[in-house]
């Protein structure tokens, strides 16, 4: 049994099908890359899986149990955590306090005491190399640091499944390599991941499998080399300049 099973998931906004009949399995311990043009339904799919949005049809199962209709906090406590494309820190809290919120709320019961939450937050901040910013106001972080704090807050929940929505936007190649290594370490510690990213180098290096959405439908899925050389994926998503570079 796959860790997460989605079957025929459909989300309509009025007449518009943002996600249409999408089915996929997420195996324990894998990294699934999720790509597709802007507006193809990637974030909507994440919102559906995590309970942030009700959906029109279909079902999502986590460890075999349907999680359709459960509120997001319950799905979070069951062990499904996420980051947001537009980072939303608690601006008037410090970095470590933001992460402690994740630890206190957390999956598998969460931290029972403030001191335990702090210890857990310190450990996670160290893991994402953000310890030096722990006592800073979250407002004072630059964009990539905010993304790492967001990641730390999600990790402090000790998730079984983590959905990352564009954590690499705005990073330079060296920072992308560091982020790829970090995400691999998260997987090695036992977390299964779905990674949405437009940075193809990262998607290629990270993903065990890639799933492509196009106009809300699943266009294809498979191993990275196969998916990224699929002519349909090139014409729907990767584009001319990517193909030129890959060919050069």
């Amino acid at each position: 049994m796959a860790l997460v099973e989605a079957r025929g998931v459909t989300k309509r906004f009025g007449g518009l099908a943002a996600v249409s009949e999408v089915s996929f399995d997420l195996q324990d311990g894998e990294i699934l890359g999720l790509i597709g043009p802007n507006g193809s339904g990637k974030t909507t799919l994440v919102n559906v899986v995590t309970g942030a949005l009700p959906y029109t049809a279909g079902e999502v199962r986590f460890r075999g149990d349907s999680i359709r209709g459960r509120p997001p906090y319950e799905i979070g406590r069951m062990g499904v955590s996420r980051t947001f494309q537009i980072v939303k820190p608690f601006r008037n809290l410090t970095v470590i306090q933001n992460v402690m919120v994740g630890a206190l709320f957390g999956a598998r019961g969460g931290a029972a005491t403030l001191s335990e939450a702090r210890r857990r937050a310190e450990e996670v901040l160290d893991f994402v190399s953000l310890s030096h910013r722990a006592e800073m106001a979250a407002d004072g972080l630059n964009v990539p640091e905010r993304k790492r704090m967001e990641l730390a807050r999600a990790l402090a929940m000790r998730p079984t499944v983590l959905l990352l929505d564009e954590v690499m936007a705005g990073l330079n190649p060296a920072e992308i390599d560091a982020a790829v290594a970090l995400i691999k370490r998260i997987r090695d510690r036992g977390t299964t991941l779905i990674v949405i990213e437009h940075v193809m180098k990262a998607i290629r290096d990270l993903s065990d499998r890639i799933m492509v959405l196009f106009h809300g439908e699943k266009l294809t899925e498979g191993p990275p080399a196969e998916v990224l050389s699929n002519p349909d994926v090139v014409s729907a998503y990767l584009g001319r300049r990517y193909a030129e570079r890959a060919g050069a």
Partner: protein, 234 residues
């Protein structure tokens, strides 16, 4: 057209830019690339009057605009397409485009320019009555570029064109900007995606730790070992 000479700027005690000089000639498309924290946004803020430079000069067509208010700088002909688009999300696409023209007196030609924007980005015409905030990232970037062009700027500055956009969407935007440039608009692109920046511009500057460390034709920069290793991931 735009001339930056020995510009230094920072926030409080923290100096970010150190003696930065660069030029954008009329009709040229120039790019400034650099990592997070290199000082790119500070430079844009200094050009647009949001941060007051501590030393150096900014000139537009020979007029010294150093220390001018943002409003006066916009009136002088510098328009920025900001990082993260910053559209008015509750307004329609058309209303956003009109906001770009709010300073213009030549009201009779505004409709014609809107039609030109719809021709440049046909999807904006289909979406003209839709709320800007409901569109995808790529469509929002088109609207933000359109809004910037509606001001009929002497120079259009783009901050992080590529942020969060699918590769194929960037192809569309690169083509559109090349067309805008070919039709005579001077463009200055500040960009972290160096491959895209070099596809666009003919002249490039590389900013590191607040200093320009390399500059020249982008064809030459592309083959620089330092640029290859640090920015192109080769």
């Amino acid at each position: 057209m735009l001339e930056i000479e020995q510009l230094s700027a920072g926030y409080g005690e923290v100096q970010i830019l150190r003696h930065v000089s660069l030029r954008v000639e009329a009709g040229e498309m120039v790019t400034l690339v650099g990592s997070n924290g290199a000082g790119k946004s500070t430079l844009l803020n200094a050009i647009c009057g949001i941060v007051r430079p501590t030393a150096g000069r900014v000139r537009l067509d020979g007029t010294d605009i150093t220390g001018w208010s943002s409003e006066a700088i916009v009136a002088e002909g510098i328009t920025q397409v900001p990082e993260g688009r910053r559209l008015f999300p509750q307004m329609t696409v058309r209303e956003n485009l009109l906001m770009g023209a709010y300073r213009r007196r030549d009201h009779h030609s505004i409709e014609r320019d809107i039609a030109a924007m719809y021709e440049l980005f046909p999807i904006l015409k289909d979406r003209q009555r839709q709320r800007a905030g409901s569109m995808s990232g790529g469509e929002q970037q088109m609207c933000a570029i359109g809004r910037g062009l509606m001001a009929r700027p002497r120079i259009l500055i783009l901050d992080e064109l590529s942020l969060g956009l699918a590769p194929i969407m960037l192809d569309v935007l690169v083509d559109a900007l090349q067309r805008v440039h070919a039709e005579g608009t001077t463009v200055f692109v500040v960009e972290q995606d160096v491959a895209t920046a070099f596809d666009l511009a003919t002249t490039g500057y590389v900013l590191e730790n607040g200093r320009v460390v390399l500059s020249g034709p982008t064809a030459d920069l592309r083959s620089s070992p330092h640029v290859k290793k640090a920015y192109l991931g080769l």
